[in-house]
């Protein structure tokens, strides 16, 4: 977060209303949240401005060359998505795999596991 006073606009995606939420920032503090219709939106906007988190979905290779879809078991900081993809690009996994199996730990130093999203024989 930058140190200056600013107002950031966040589109809330918690529900289909898609409220445009304005977040007023002074120094490194959130001083004002407006435009949200509910508390969930305020929480979302606060997180988006401080530390936005995303679940990463991508693929890794099985040793035989087939692609295995995977995801992070929980959201990781948005700024680390590219690092995580790069780290996973070298991973090779031995078949068979079951859905939900951990194939990589602590991706990009987040402490979060990467799990498979399908089974392969």
């Amino acid at each position: 977060m930058s140190a200056a006073n600013e107002e950031r606009t966040v589109t809330c995606i918690v529900c289909p209303s898609g409220c445009r939420i304005k977040v007023g920032i002074e120094g490194s503090e959130i001083v004002r949240i407006s435009g949200n219709q509910c508390k969930r939106g305020a929480d979302y906007a606060r997180a988006e401005v401080t530390q936005p988190m995303r679940v990463l979905t991508t693929t890794v290779r099985l040793e035989d060359g087939r692609l295995l879809p995977v995801k992070t078991a929980s959201p990781i900081p948005k700024v680390l998505l590219f690092d995580a993809v790069k780290e996973l690009s070298g991973v090779r996994v031995k078949a068979p795999v079951k859905i939900g199996q951990v194939i990589y730990s602590n991706v990009a130093g987040t402490g979060v596991d990467v799990v498979t999203t399908r089974s392969w024989n």
């Binding site: 898609g18 879809p69 399908r118």
Partner: protein, 432 residues
């Protein structure tokens, strides 16, 4: 390959297509006690389009958790297997008649002929390519539909290109913008001719805004450059009649153009069986039990109308299975229907006709799409007697299907149903 014609097989319920619609229908049919359920799919694995949709966003309604496409599919594949559904893979259905004769072909058995008591159509949809046809310029390599690109990257494992422009802001294009960006490509922009996006808001935020990819509304591609391979495109703003304003034209260098300009229900087989097709949805006209104009043939999922949420596909498939079960039980008794029509503000409503007394469930689902975005609108449900029900909807978008339910008691004795939307606020444009 030599084709050997085998004797006609007699089957109770045959489901054409093993995507989420076909699998959900099969699972429900077995639960309802239909013993002989056969699913036929041309691919080597069941799951349909979900196999390549590795992103999250599936199943929030059905499973109350956010799954990826393959995870959603695997749950239904597992249920289908546990319930003894027979799935015939690598088999393409090439013919369907109005008396429910099916001809399919595969490399093991050659031609297969099946006489089914009931059929559920679940063939999904295919991608429109029309958006590119009107664009002048050569037809160099490097033009793909977004779904083809998705298959390349997520199933086959190679990149369609490095510098990308996406025409159309449908969800597949948005999802691919993110995926290609994370894989190291540069997505220059998404170009949308309409003044609003056709994608889900969450996809605009998480696939474009997150990566600073511009969404150019009221813009289109007017020229494709390059002889062998795409070298760039010319884009321009359009006026209110969607005509390009040539003074605004500018060149954008790229090696790949992805088309995300919509989906069309896959109804070649339905036409062969003389099933009545709704010109607006591009899919069959159905009644309260998802039965087409041909008795004993039912439809659900993207073959019926294009869905944005797989959860509604599953809901619809369950209704189709219940419909097929009631048909198998009543032996195809004839019913009279009342018309269901879209009024102001709505493009279509499904089902297009109903018989209130023959509803397989106490509540009837209705699915509809608005003609344009509205910040706030009132939905009216009327019969010849007047308003039956009205409710306020917020942030209506053509890309997000509206689903409402009516109780049998609310509809008893009526002669027609009309749904309409009246705007109550300013029109919204989001994602600009």
């Amino acid at each position: 390959m030599r084709l050997v014609v085998l004797p006609v097989q007699n089957r109770e319920l045959v489901i054409i297509g093993g995507g989420p619609a076909g699998l959900s229908a099969a699972v429900e049919a077995r639960r309802l006690g239909i013993k002989d359920v056969l699913v036929i799919d041309r691919e080597s694995e069941p799951g349909g389009i979900l196999k390549q949709c590795i992103h999250t966003g599936f199943g929030l309604h059905v499973f109350k958790e956010e799954l990826t496409g393959p995870e959603y599919a695997e749950r239904f594949i597992e249920q289908a297997e546990n319930l003894g559904v027979e799935i015939m893979l690598n088999t393409m259905v090439i013919e369907l008649t109005a008396d429910r004769r099916i001809v399919a072909v595969n490399s093991r058995e050659g031609l297969i002929e099946i006489q089914a008591k009931a059929v559920i159509l679940a063939m999904g949809c295919r991608e429109r390519t029309r958006g590119a046809i009107n664009i002048p310029g050569f037809r160099p390599a490097g033009i793909f539909t977004a779904g083809t690109a998705q298959r390349f990257v997520n199933i086959e494992g190679y990149m369609p290109g490095r510098e990308i422009v996406i025409l159309g802001s449908g969800d597949i294009g948005l999802i691919m913008a993110r995926r290609l960006t994370l894989e190291g490509a540069k997505v220059r922009c998404v170009v949308e001719i309409m003044p609003y996006s056709n994608g889900l808001t969450r996809n605009i935020v998480q696939c474009l805004e997150d990566y600073g990819i511009p969404l150019l509304l009221k813009h289109t591609v007017v020229n494709i450059h390059g002889r062998k391979r795409v070298e760039g495109v010319t884009i321009a703003e359009v006026d209110d009649d969607m005509k390009p304003i040539m003074e605004t034209a500018k060149f954008v260098p790229c090696d790949t153009l992805l088309l995300s300009v919509g989906l069309i229900p896959e109804n070649e087989l339905s036409r062969l069986a003389d099933i009545e097709i709704d010109e607006v949805t591009g899919g069959p006209v159905v009644n309260q039990r998802m039965e087409t104009s041909v008795p004993g043939i039912f439809a659900c999922g993207n073959v019926l109308h294009v869905h944005d949420l797989v959860d509604y596909v599953t809901q619809e498939a369950v209704s189709a299975a219940r419909g097929a079960a009631s048909y198998l039980a009543d032996g195809g008794k004839k019913y009279k229907h009342i018309p269901v029509s879209p009024g102001n503000g709505l493009r279509y409503v499904l089902p297009q006709r109903i018989n209130v007394d023959a509803m397989p469930e106490e509540r009837q689902n209705f699915f509809m799409r608005s003609v344009r975005p509205m910040a706030k609108a009132r939905l009216f449900v009327e019969s010849e007697r007047g308003v039956i029900k009205s409710s306020v909807l917020r942030y209506v978008k053509p890309s997000e299907m509206i689903s409402i339910q009516l109780d049998r008691d609310e509809m008893r004795g009526i002669k027609m149903l009309n749904f309409s939307l009246r705007e109550e606020g300013d029109s919204v444009e989001r994602g600009e």
